[in-house]
Symmetry: C2
Amino acid sequence: MAGILYGVGVGPGDPELLTLKALRLLQGAPVIVYPAPLEGESFARSIVAPHLPGGQIEIALRMEMNAAGFPNDAVYARGARDIGAHLDAGRDVVALCEGDPFFYGSFMYLYARVAQSHRVEVVPGVSSLTACAGVLGAPLASRGDRLAVLPATLPPERLRAALAEADAAAIIKVGRHLPKIRTLLKHLGLLGAARYIERATLANQRILDIDEALAGEAPYFSMVLVHRRGAAWR
Amino acid sequence: MAGILYGVGVGPGDPELLTLKALRLLQGAPVIVYPAPLEGESFARSIVAPHLPGGQIEIALRMEMNAAGFPNDAVYARGARDIGAHLDAGRDVVALCEGDPFFYGSFMYLYARVAQSHRVEVVPGVSSLTACAGVLGAPLASRGDRLAVLPATLPPERLRAALAEADAAAIIKVGRHLPKIRTLLKHLGLLGAARYIERATLANQRILDIDEALAGEAPYFSMVLVHRRGAAWR
């Protein structure tokens, strides 16, 4: 009987934000697969490292982690082939996904390839979206709020139009786009109603005003949360 | 030393989608508090019921569960007083929150009252947003998508404007607003690109076309997911 590929959300960073289901699948699977940079540690693997039982086959999908987040087709194609071989041999495979697999995750590139020929199940995880709101100490959205989730990589005019239609917004993948975000928020009169969060739920998490954040270097995994009703968390 | 109020996300419904942190806090707290209907079982409590150690003080915030989701001020005020008394006596309190506490959750009404005088921490949970995408088997959003989260309770013109600016949308709190949603999606040419999901991750979950869903009665906790690129899940 063929194995199953599980796309498992491992949450935003704190290893304790793994779900019970993720833990069970992770510890029971003979094979785990995860994205990783060309050299060095995989963030997804580091989240679950305290829970790994050892002795599992590990497939690291090593690729250039560029800010645009473009997929590396050859890496995913080879990864899907390797995964398919394990599934055909009756071995379940757990793919580790930062946050949630279907919330702007790279799991979709594996899913698209493997689901054509094999059974794939998705286990949702805690996303960075709610993790950031939690550490900020302010509701992400409530009651009748229109919430917009916007990749910072979009052109300014598309960001502006969506921000104008929203009560609350989460701007994700901030990284080097922070100056553009600042200009937009200033024009819209929302600079004081925005906060910058990086590495939420990790020991080195930071919460900053936009101008404080501009003084440093924003990592790719950072987020700006905005709410029109403003500084509920002050 | 005063206790801490923890607002703990318990996920969308499957008891196995609780996080390890939620489980630890839940099982260690001398007091738990949760929203409940005037009569009958609390959904939040039912999610964690398999994990309860027994012997805990339980505070049920019983209130009319109306579709508009308006808070019952008197119930929350009394609940906050009761919680404050336990915290003052040095007892930690865990507030059970369906999904995530800060994602359209009623926890904000307790938070607003208790955080003024006591320490409150929020533990994020798996939200219905990503749980629905998971059971649907299609990415909620990816790459440069603008994602809109929209309460179905909004007037049609505000829903229409936000839908027009988005690549993907999650329409939440659907319930009796489904006919209005159908009309809007039809006008926008998005009817075929939308799916209705109720009770995601529970044994009785259902995934339907909008017209199939209209034939039945949509519960308050139901969602419509839309993606402009359409029927990736067909």
